[in-house]
C-alpha cells in the first residue's frame, strides 16, 4: 500500500472540527453579543484580566493556542475538498499546499504571538 499523509490531515481535521463544534459557539456569543451589548457586568474581557490570565498560566495559554490552531486544520482539510469538488481538481496539489500551508502558517504565527505574552 502506498504511503499517505491522509491519516495525519484527517486526524487534525477531526480534532479541529470537534474543538470548533464544542467551544466556538459560546465564544462567539460572548464576543459578539454578551460583551458588546453590555449584558454582563464589569467588562469581563478587560485588558488586565485577560492579560493576567494568559501571561501567568501556561495551561491557559496552551488551551487558547489549541482552540485557535486546531480548527485551522479543520478548515484546511474541508476547504481543500470543497475547492476540488467545485471543479478545481486540475490544481488539487496547489490547493493542498495553499490550504495546509495556510493552517501551518497560522500555527507558526500563533506560536510567535503566544510566545510574546
Amino acid at each position: 500500500m502506498a504511503k499517505s499523509n491522509e491519516p495525519i490531515w484527517w486526524s487534525l481535521f477531526s480534532a479541529g472540527g470537534m474543538v470548533a463544534a464544542m467551544i466556538l459557539p459560546v465564544l462567539i456569543i460572548i464576543t459578539g453579543i454578551l460583551v458588546p451589548f453590555g449584558l454582563v457586568d464589569d467588562d469581563p474581557l478587560n485588558f488586565e484580566r485577560i492579560y493576567t490570565a494568559l501571561s501567568q498560566s501556561w495551561l491557559i495559554k496552551l488551551i487558547f493556542f489549541i482552540v485557535i490552531t486546531l480548527p485551522l486544520f479543520h478548515w484546511a482539510h474541508r476547504f481543500r475538498f470543497t475547492l476540488v469538488d467545485v471543479g478545481l481538481k486540475s490544481v488539487s496539489t496547489l490547493i493542498s499546499i495553499l490550504c495546509y500551508g495556510g493552517a501551518i502558517t497560522g500555527t507558526i504565527v500563533s506560536i510567535v504571538v503566544f510566545w510574546n505574552i
Binding site: 479541529g16 472540527g17 470537534m18 470548533a20 463544534a21 464544542m22 467551544i23 466556538l24 459557539p25 459560546v26 465564544l27 462567539i28 456569543i29 460572548i30 464576543t31 459578539g32 453579543i33 454578551l34 460583551v35 458588546p36 454582563v40 457586568d41 464589569d42 469581563p44 474581557l45 485588558f47 488586565e48 484580566r49 485577560i50 492579560y51 494568559l54 487558547f64 482552540v67 485557535i68 490552531t69 480548527p71 485551522l72 479543520h74 478548515w75 484546511a76 474541508r78 476547504f79 475538498f81 470543497t82 469538488d85 467545485v86 471543479g87 497560522g106 504565527v109 500563533s110 504571538v113 503566544f114 510574546n116 505574552i117
Partner: protein, 127 residues
Amino acid sequence: MSPYHRPIPNTWWLKRKPYILFMIRELTSVFVAGYCIFLLVLVYKLTQGADAYGNFMAALKSPSSVALHLITLAFVLYHTITWFNLTPKILVLYRGEDRIPQGLVAGAFYTGWVVISVIIAWLVLGV
C-alpha cells in the same frame, strides 16, 4: 488510454437541496477559521498593550462586528449540529454484542456541548 469520465458541471451542487446543504456545511469551515483568526488578532492586540487591545474591543460594539458575529454564529452552529449528527456514524460503539444507538451517542455529545459551554461562559465571564 485513460478511462472515460463523464464531465460534471462545476455547478452540480446547485441542482438539489441536499447538495446545497452539503456545500453550506463545507463552507462553515470558512467561518470557523475566520473566527479563529479573529481570536488570534485579539491575543495579538493583548501583546500590543492596553490601548491597542481597548480599541479592538471597542470595535466589537460596531454594527458590522455584531452582524459578522451573528452570521458566523449561524454557520458555526450549523457546523456543530451537523458534526454531532455525523459523529455516531464514525464513532461506532458497542456494549457487548449490541451497538449503542446513534441517538444516544449524539445525545452524549450534545450534552457535553451544553456542559462545556456553560463552564466556558462561567470561566470567561466570571459570573
